[in-house]
Symmetry: C2
Subunit: 123 residues, 2 copies
């Protein structure tokens, strides 16, 4: 089967729901995901997985217990395993994110929450 490129913006046109990451790539046991988010997520951590957030559009305020980083397009942050974090969008604007994390990462880590999506879909 031919190997095809993925256009990130085209993929973002395929869904609207917030806080529901979609799968767009897989490599070395990791998933590449896209998510649209707005508002506040939930404090959580992942015991065994590091998680990378790359901002495509908008601004996100990544709260951690020790510091806060505000990220815009072309910026990323890697949250190491075990580190509690809570992403919030800035000024209540929609944010487009690209995520990298192991295939077995639970959406909200140890926490089950109304925002938890346990069955993430390919687009």
């Amino acid at each position: 089967m031919d190997i095809r490129k993925v256009n990130i913006n085209e993929k973002f046109k395929l869904f609207d729901a917030h806080w529901t990451p979609k799968l767009v790539g897989e490599l070395n046991g990791q998933y590449v995901k896209l998510a649209k988010v707005k508002g506040e997520f939930v404090w959580h951590s992942h015991a065994n997985e590091d998680e990378m957030f790359l901002i495509i559009k908008g601004q996100i305020r990544m709260e951690m217990r020790d510091n806060v980083e505000v990220l815009g397009p072309g910026e990323f942050i890697i949250i190491p395993r075990g580190v509690e974090h809570n992403p919030k969008t800035v000024d209540d604007q929609e944010v487009w994110l690209m995520l990298f994390e192991p295939k077995d990462t639970a959406h909200t880590g140890e926490v089950q929450h109304e925002k938890t999506v346990n069955d993430q879909q390919w687009i």
Copy 2:
């Protein structure tokens, strides 16, 4: 230690050399790398690693034995392990790339070439 964001464009200002990937992140046994490339690389494959190329600036023509994909900014391609590939820049313009691959990935896979960089550096 506080966890800090990375601004991709700021990192690209820190080096000029072509075909010498720099390390900018690490997660789950994978490296995130940035590279500036121009011209043609070399046909190679990686026996045990999948490799992701995300284009930040410019256009790249990814040759594989079965097909060719031309990628621009905001597009990525994942080259599965074992698949021979050869990236070339379009119109001999400089291209900025973000790469994701396992920490133990050899730059040119099984091939040793004058363009091979065996000791990649953090920036």
